[in-house]
């Protein structure tokens, strides 16, 4: 019920291509879905986030698509750049006053120059 399943585990994309990472959840109580980006040796940092009352959110080259009925959400990176090479985590926020973040297992993205 509290799991967030993320795929793929790793992804290689050519420069200029589109990177797509998918996540699925079970608990319909989750009410906030952020994506975090992590570079080697650093802590995760918020990239973009969406609430379940919105089907899509775009910030620059990064877009979240959200399908509430399917309980799935995805991150699309347009015009992928070598600087986007990092590990990406989807997450879901468990409500009820505790604000616990449940994370997916991560996707290691490599963008080839």
């Amino acid at each position: 019920q509290q799991q967030v399943k993320q795929s793929p585990q790793s992804l290689i994309v050519q420069k200029g291509g589109i990177s797509i990472i998918n996540c699925a959840y079970e608990n319909t109580a989750f009410d906030y879905f952020p994506w975090y980006q992590q570079f080697p040796g650093k802590g995760p940092a918020l990239l973009i986030a969406i609430r379940p009352d919105v089907s899509e959110k775009k910030e620059g080259r990064f877009t979240i698509s959200f399908n509430k009925s399917a309980k799935q959400f995805s991150l699309h990176i347009m015009d992928s750049q070598p600087g986007d090479s990092a590990t990406y985590f989807c997450a879901a926020l468990y409500p009820g006053g505790t604000y616990k973040y449940i994370f997916g297992t991560g996707t290691r993205l490599k963008v080839l120059a």
């Binding site: 650093k42 802590g43 995760p44």
Partner: protein, 113 residues
């Protein structure tokens, strides 16, 4: 503004030793979290706190203890270290004002030999 600061950055422990991972934040955030990150496993919640004097277990609390005597500090105590506790540990914090970004520290890489 330092954000979330973790010390030490690296540590090697022998089996059975104890240590405290320090975490402090200067953003006056009520919510604080400890995660461990293992390859291919994502971030697992160890303990969290919704305010000074209040702590609760996360997904993987066994072998760890926490305290929260002030808003700023949230130390994680490892008693009787075991090889299974070899991991990268991240502390994070978030403000009380509803679902929002969690800010992460740089992490502590712990090896138990």
């Amino acid at each position: 503004n330092a954000g979330v600061t973790q010390t030490p950055k690296f540590r090697i422990l022998k089996i059975g030793q104890s240590m405290t991972l320090q975490c402090t934040q200067d953003m006056n955030h009520n919510y604080m979290y400890w995660y461990r990150q293992d390859p291919g496993m994502g971030l697992k919640l160890i303990y969290y706190s919704v305010g000074a004097g209040i702590t609760d277990k996360g997904e993987v609390p066994n072998g760890y203890n926490v305290s929260r005597s002030t808003t700023e500090d949230f130390p994680l105590r490892l008693e009787l270290a075991a090889p299974s506790q070899t991991s990268v540990y991240f502390c994070a914090s978030s403000p009380r004002t509803g679902p929002t970004e969690a800010f992460f520290g740089q992490g502590t890489r712990l090896t138990v030999v």
